[in-house]
Amino acid sequence: MREKSTTLYLGPQHPGITGNMMVKLQLEGDTIVKATTHVGYLHRAFEKLIERRNWMQTTTILCRFCVPEPDPPEAAFALAVEQIEGREVPERGKYLRSLVLELARLQSFMLWYAGQSGSTGLYTVGQWSVGDRNYVLDLFEELTGGRIYHMYIWPGGVRRDIPEGFEDKVLRTMDYIEKRIDDYDRMMFDSAIFQKRAQGVGIITKEKAMEWGVVGAPLRGCGIGHDVRKDNPYDAYDKLDFEMGIFEGGDVWARARVRQFEIRQTISMIRQLIQNLPSGDYLNKMPNPMKWTIPAGSAYGKVESVRGEFGFHVVSDGSDKPRRVHARGPAYVHGVSLLEDVLIGQNLADVSFIMNSLGVCPPEIER
């Protein structure tokens, strides 16, 4: 009917976009023939600022890398610094780190529920899950003092020990959330409309996944089982019993199933961490943090965030300031060139849906 193609700027101000970025779409009817991503609306020049901060100050700025889960960047940076320095982390510190990382993963999963269902107009699940997410944030607040930004994981351990009675609260919250997740699933995954929307949409094939460097849930949704927690275990993950969710298909539905499976694994991991929490020191004390120097060297620390591998390439020249800290979030791979490729041939209605399922998070693309 209409040969003329329409240009639609999806963003930066658009309710469907996952954060502050823009996708320029070339449409024929409702089908996308070309997509171009434009990022940079959230560029704060972290890596430049870190050149002017000393090592301790860097930890406070790092958690701002990615808003939906601020803890993986801290952990990845801490891992890299520990690798360069050769600093050991006490056993309790490792467990507490894993606990915080898993709690962060849990709250991020709940945010994902909201995004994934909200992008199809099912706001009720989002309202429930974001409302219930406050209970996890309460735990964070009690543990670290902040709801969103925690600055809890330091090189050498964690900032402070858990408060009294915290274990009980975590377990109680987990019981509650586990019950609620069933509700979300009944409304979202059991809905025939959601299944129709999600199946066969935004397909990433196995070959493409390796070529484009897909990580995290999208990779496991293609049937390829890689998870940093399994492959290169860090912190306490080698002592935990958990499985990767691996589903075939590579579409939005498979990715959603991976997350549906893994949120339950996360809850079980949090329980294990609380039950096996060793006693002892939580922080390998460092000298005066403001005068702290790291020997020259470089390392790549990586952790599994909810959207995939989160890595930090840290280079030290032996001074009290990092020479270079270069972050690589999962969205860096998913959100720019891969997204442009996946969107071709999709329906306009699915753009936001696919972006949510790939976990595109602009702040960590441009940093």
């Binding site: 101000q13 954060g19 502050n20 959230l42 704060r44 020049a45 945010l111 974001v130 409302g131």
Partner: protein
């Protein structure tokens, strides 16, 4: 009371009452503070009971939330969006970064002082501001509107040249029209 110059007429009172109780907030997460907005709008804090609800496009919105740091690239879009909004319109600066640059005080790509570029009615401080403070900010804006003092848009029109000059200082290569309707 009738002799009081500042007293509002009944029409103004009704207008201000409806304006304050019906704030359409533009869905534009300009920065990381946008992460606390879902929490503000959902069950525990529920800003909708105050009449705050989302609006999809600037034409429909009354309230622009600048959620955190504003990079120069976003500033250009924010100005466009702000000028597209219909009077009366209000701006809330959200988070320390809008007040004085916050922890990005030495970053080359973020502006440090929001009110030099667009008029701000209410600032909410904190990094991140908690949902409670966001709601407190909404309440503050509502009381300003009720008193008829939230006149940021009028200030903008009066001092358009001054604002434009400041904007041009940061934004290069932008053919600025006089006013984006």
């Amino acid at each position: 009371m009738y002799n009081d110059k500042n007293a509002q007429t009944i029409v103004e009172y009704i207008q201000n009452f409806t304006r304050k109780n019906s704030l359409f907030m533009l869905a534009y997460g300009t920065g990381c503070g946008a992460i606390e907005l879902p929490a503000t709008l959902t069950s525990r804090y529920d800003a909708e009971r105050l009449g705050v609800r989302g609006a999809a496009t600037p034409r429909q919105a009354d309230l622009l939330l600048i959620t955190g740091y504003l990079s120069t690239k976003t500033l250009k879009r924010v100005i466009r969006v702000y000028e597209q909004m219909q009077d009366p319109k209000y701006v809330i600066g959200f988070g320390s970064c809008t007040i004085n640059g916050g922890m990005y005080w030495d970053s080359y790509n973020t502006i440090k002082l929001l009110d030099k570029y667009i008029p701000v009615d209410v600032y909410i401080n904190g990094c991140m501001p908690r949902p409670e403070s966001v709601i407190a900010g909404f309440k503050e804006l509502q009381s300003l509107i009720a008193a008829g003092k939230a006149d940021g848009a009028a200030k903008y029109k009066e001092n358009l040249e001054w604002y434009r000059e400041n904007q041009k200082k940061v934004l290069k290569n932008w053919p600025l029209v006089e006013y984006n309707w």
